[in-house]
Symmetry: C2
Subunit: 308 residues, 2 copies
């Protein structure tokens, strides 16, 4: 198969920090164009938006959407309607209904749709999944606490409806837990803390339960200064399985395991190349479903105003 000719839509922080390097390092895919309102790259065809790109005579096979989730539906739909394969940054959209619609459209158009969850590619995730398939799980505790000022400086969209607030990182934890747990689960209670001056939560305390009754607790907080915490602790009858550092390190029964170097975005692009070449899609929206549930079932507390 010839290399996939890819366009990036939205040349913001995540595209520059992660996507450009990963694409350059991945066999089978070449960046040929960029559509971005305010940014451009040298030696690459640049367009102000995806409509201009699709109307041009630059041939692309696929687009990778790195724009914020609000408004991404129109871009994804335009690309799918034009017969392009589509890769979606997380979260895959602003609503559940729209991602289901994209899934149906991709199927109809016969192209690949990949709803990515980069944290699932963290080095400890697959070893943890294999371990847990063999163990009797008693409970799960997720602690995902970081400093929003450090990680999202001045990103206003993240505080708007659809920006998800603390669920923007929290959905990474949920993408790991949904991957490593052998059983599906659902929310049973949700407490959301909204700054008095913001439309999105700065913290969330969630309780889930698997179908057979195993409890899963998750605490997300964006107010953590000092050391940052991205840990998932699974208690099993055979001892603890703990993922730390966002899923990149693994501790089994108290012993740190050697895991490979993280290559989250390279793994995503490698998987995308595989999907396109085998004419498949990968659209597991369950992390976003849990987030929507957390809002629907959430009891809202108002907390101190947040200023950037």
């Amino acid at each position: 198969m010839p290399n996939i000719r890819l366009a990036i839509v939205g040349l913001g922080k995540i595209a520059r920090d992660q996507h450009l390097g990963a694409i350059a390092a991945t066999d089978g895919i070449d960046l040929v164009a960029v559509a971005s309102r305010n940014a451009s790259l040298e030696n690459i065809h640049c367009f102000p938006d995806i409509d201009a790109l699709l109307a041009s005579d630059v041939d692309v096979d696929a687009v990778s959407l790195c724009t914020p989730p609000q408004g991404r539906f129109e871009q994804a739909r335009a690309a799918l309607m034009a017969g392009k394969h589509v890769m979606l940054e997380k979260p895959p959209g602003a609503t559940i209904a729209e991602v289901f619609a994209l899934e149906a459209l991709a199927r109809k158009q016969g192209v690949s749709l990949f709803a990515t969850w980069h944290s699932r590619e963290a080095a400890a995730v697959e070893p943890a999944r294999r371990l847990l398939a063999e163990r009797r799980i008693q409970s799960v505790e997720v602690e995902w606490k970081e400093d929003v000022r450090h990680w999202h400086p001045g990103q206003a969209w993240i505080w708007e409806p659809g920006g998800l607030g603390v669920f923007d990182p929290g959905i990474n934890a949920l993408s790991i837990v949904t991957r490593i747990m052998p059983e599906s689960f659902h929310l049973v209670s949700s407490e959301l803390s909204f700054p008095a001056n913001r439309a999105a939560p700065i913290a969330a305390d969630l309780e889930f339960q698997t179908a057979s009754g195993t409890p899963i607790k998750a605490a997300f907080d964006w107010r953590q200064t000092g050391p940052q915490t991205w840990d998932i602790r699974v208690s099993t009858q055979e001892g603890d399985v703990v993922l730390t550092h966002g899923g990149s390190r693994l501790i089994v029964n108290g012993e740190a395991q050697i895991v490979e170097e993280d290559r989250e975005y390279r793994s995503l692009y490698k998987h995308f190349v595989d999907l396109v070449s085998s004419k498949r899609s990968d659209t597991d929206f369950s992390p976003l479903v849990h987030v929507a549930d957390a809002f629907m079932l959430g009891r809202r507390n108002v907390v101190e105003s947040f200023e950037d």
Copy 2:
């Protein structure tokens, strides 16, 4: 096929107002048991809860869950695990994840699951659906405004997280719109009004869009005294198609049409008998998906406290 032996779980207002009469009037299904904490029926086996019912020697083939959505998952799961067919009152659950889990479990167990939307059985809905399939739709406006004090006197659960507030009636409108529209749609903006002392919204202003861009506006309000409004107005290039009175009356191009008498719950039970006898399920969760989206994408306004 012998008649379906049915148990009702939750003998509250909706069961007494609607289910008992509909079951009695429907061929192919007999009420043989009730599981309800505080209520019982004469000449019917009565149990305090579904576990006691399932542990008893009373044979039932199916259960109809009329309990509030919070906590219904455990009941539905117990019934499905016991090999019973299950019919769910609307909304089908408190979370999207749990209704997907029930759908998967019913498939695995080889039994029928029916997520009911009684408003879809209103008399004008099917004629409207057929009309709209032939017309060019320009816009949709939903107005669903009622007096909560009249319709839900003292129902505390409806104001709790998972009780959905004004979406409890609003989801009826969404169940009609999702049925009559030839195209799927997704939310683009949501404004939710929460009474200062309540955990659920008393009003909602929603804007949806179909995949091809047709706007759908919905206004839900629980503060309407005097005449009650449950109207859906579809503007088409060929004239207006209007459903009033909760979908029971139809006005086409300004002319009232004759529609049959409403038999919403009888239609539901007839459909359930059909599903069980043909070993099928009917699990369209799209109205609940739109509600979850409305919470996730919702901008929240705090309004005057509400006292019953």
